[in-house]
Each structure stands twice: as C-alpha cells, then as structure tokens.
Amino acid sequence: MSSRELERMQMPGAQHPAQLADVLERVLDKGIVIAGDIQINLLDIELLTVKLRLLIASADKAKEMGIDWWQDDPFLSRGSSNGKTLEGRLKRLEQKAGIEDDGSE
C-alpha cells in the first residue's frame, strides 16, 4: 500500500480525485439509472460501456479468465457471527426493497 493510499485512509471525507473507474462502478447502477419520476432504462448503456469498456468488457474478461465464480453469490462474506447477522439484515432489507418495489406501480 502506498503512503498516499494510507493518507487517504486516515482522512475520511477528504476530497481526492478518485479513479474514474472506481467512482463509476459505484455510482452507476449496473446500467440502469433510476430516476424518481423518470425511470430511465439505459439501453444506450451499451454505447457507454463500449466507450468505457466498463461492464461488458470486464465481464467477458472475467469469464474468459474463469474467475466469475462470485456472480451468483454476492453474499460470500464468511465473517464473524456479528458480520453474518449484519449480512443477514442487509439481505433481508434487499429483499424487502425489491418486494416493495414490485408492489408499487
């Protein structure tokens, strides 16, 4: 770990220009942008990903490499019992959010 990264760790909330790829994979919702009033299903996201080689290229590469072992299991954490409890709660919230969403118009 570089000293710059260590420095970042010690400065929560400090402004730093994070790597674009790291920011985008967090702020973009897997190709679908949810807008409160306007739900935009970004079919054009393919254009975007071709430009950025963000989602599509990386998925292909991972498969090619044979390291897409996680894809069907986002809950791989084998943490402490405390961690498991939190994972369980997150999973339940995730389901709840999904179910509630299905229930709405």
Binding site: L6, L28, V33, G79, L93
Partner: protein, 255 residues
C-alpha cells in the same frame, strides 16, 4: 410514466442521512447548484435543485452517453457524498436519482422510512473500503528451438503454465476475498476491471468492497498480510476509500 411538470428544476437526491444533520455545500452540486438538507419526518435527504434543461429525461439520456459529462457529474456526486461521509452516516444513492416534485421525494422518504432507518443504523460508524488484487502473470520463456518437435514441446509447456497461472489466480482471489471478508461486516465482489479502466498492465484478480468500522485498521492489516503471502507470486494489492457504502445499499431502494 407520470406527467413531468413544466417546473424548471428537479430534485437530485445524493443520499439519505439522519434527521437533524447539518450540511450545506453552496455551489457543490452536480451542476454547480447548492447542496442542501431536505428534512422529512424521520430521515433527511441531501439534495440539489437541478435544472431540467440538463437533468430532464431527454437531456439526461443524452448526457449519460457523453463521457466528459458523465465523468464530471460522477465525480461531483461522489464528492458531495464524501463530504457528508466525513461528518455523518450516509446512505449513498446512485447517480441521477431525480424527483420531479418535492411531494414525490417526500412520499419516497415516507414509504421507505423503515428500510432507510435500518440502513442508517447498520452503516453507523462504518465505511466501505475497496481492495483490488493485481496479478503480473509469468511470461513463457522461448527456448529458441525451431524444430517441429521443439515447437510442440514449447507450446505444451506454455499451455501448462497458463493453466497453472489461471488456477493460481482463482485460488488467490478466493483466499484474499475470504480473508478480507472475515475482517468485514459485509463483503461484495465487483467485476474485475480490464486494463483500459484500471490503467495497469497486470490482470485484476479481485475487485472487492468491504464494509468495515471506520478507521479500525483491521482490513489494512489483512491486506498487508496478503501482500506478504503473495508477493513472490507477482500479486499486488490496492486499497481505496473510504467510500460511502454504495455496495451495501439494497438495489431497487429508490422507486
């Protein structure tokens, strides 16, 4: 689809925080607008009133495919959430979560108040850290043989080395993620970024996100230990963050 009113602005939602949170960032919004706190009954939202000329359905669709706009907006979105993360617990929302009317935002915050309150409780005192592992794959050595038999043997050796490297890559990624996950409250794996994105020539083996106590240093220790363990095999690690806990917000939270 609801009728989009002719109002010149829409509310851009960055994240949700506890009621009573103080945060005002003049001019720091995604389009240079002010970032403010919008108080609902049980929680509060970090919002900006943004121009529909930029964030309306049609312009947004166009802008999201404009790399420069996307980069600038994503960085501004992230910067706002990092400012919030520096002082309080925050539920980060994805980029371009927009409400055409205050009533719609209020209704969303009301409908999801249970989930939002629980997430705020879960995220309290925690941050997301990113850990990436890179593998400098060993290069096959040419032995200079130009006979047919020599070529065949060389090809076989190369293929065996490739298979061995693949097997190692998987084992290394699994062990790393397992050990990092054990030091975290929750863990997620994102897809490996290709070189064009990571900006590194080595192959990315792991692109993980870990929800950890803010500043406790345990995950950093695990990274240090993994670095030592795999240094001789050409694996290096990169730690990023602290991030708002994007990877731990349930999908479909926003309507």
């Amino acid at each position: 689809m609801s009728a989009v009113s002719a109002a010149p602005t829409a509310l851009y939602l960055y994240g949700v925080v506890a009621s009573g949170t103080r945060l005002a960032l003049p001019g720091a919004g995604v389009d240079g607008s002010d970032v403010e706190i919008y108080e609902a009954e049980d929680v509060a939202a970090i919002v900006s009133a943004v121009s529909r000329a930029e964030f309306g359905e049609e312009p947004l669709h166009r802008h999201l495919n404009d790399r420069e706009w996307l980069e600038r907006t994503a960085q501004a979105h992230e910067a706002v959430l990092e400012r919030a993360l520096g002082t309080t617990t925050v539920i980060p929302f994805r980029m371009a979560t927009l409400y055409g009317a205050e009533a719609r935002l209020r209704a969303f915050l009301h409908e999801r108040r249970g989930v939002l309150a629980e997430l705020l409780e879960l995220f309290e005192g925690k941050v997301e850290l990113g850990v990436k592992a890179y593998f400098d794959r060993p290069e096959a050595e040419a032995d200079g043989s130009d006979t047919g038999r020599g070529y065949m043997l060389q090809r076989q050796a190369e293929q065996a080395a490739e298979r061995e490297a693949d097997a190692f890559a998987i084992a290394c990624a699994e062990e790393s993620h397992r050990r990092l996950g054990a030091a975290a409250f929750a863990a997620r794996v994102n897809r490996a970024q290709p070189s064009e994105l990571s900006g590194r020539s080595e192959q990315m083996l792991l692109n993980g996100a870990y929800l950890v106590p803010r500043g406790d240093g345990e995950l950093e220790e695990v990274v240090g230990s993994l670095e030592q363990r795999f240094a001789g095999r050409g694996v290096t690690f990169e730690l990023t963050g602290p991030w708002p806990p994007y990877n731990f917000v349930p999908r479909d939270l926003a309507p």
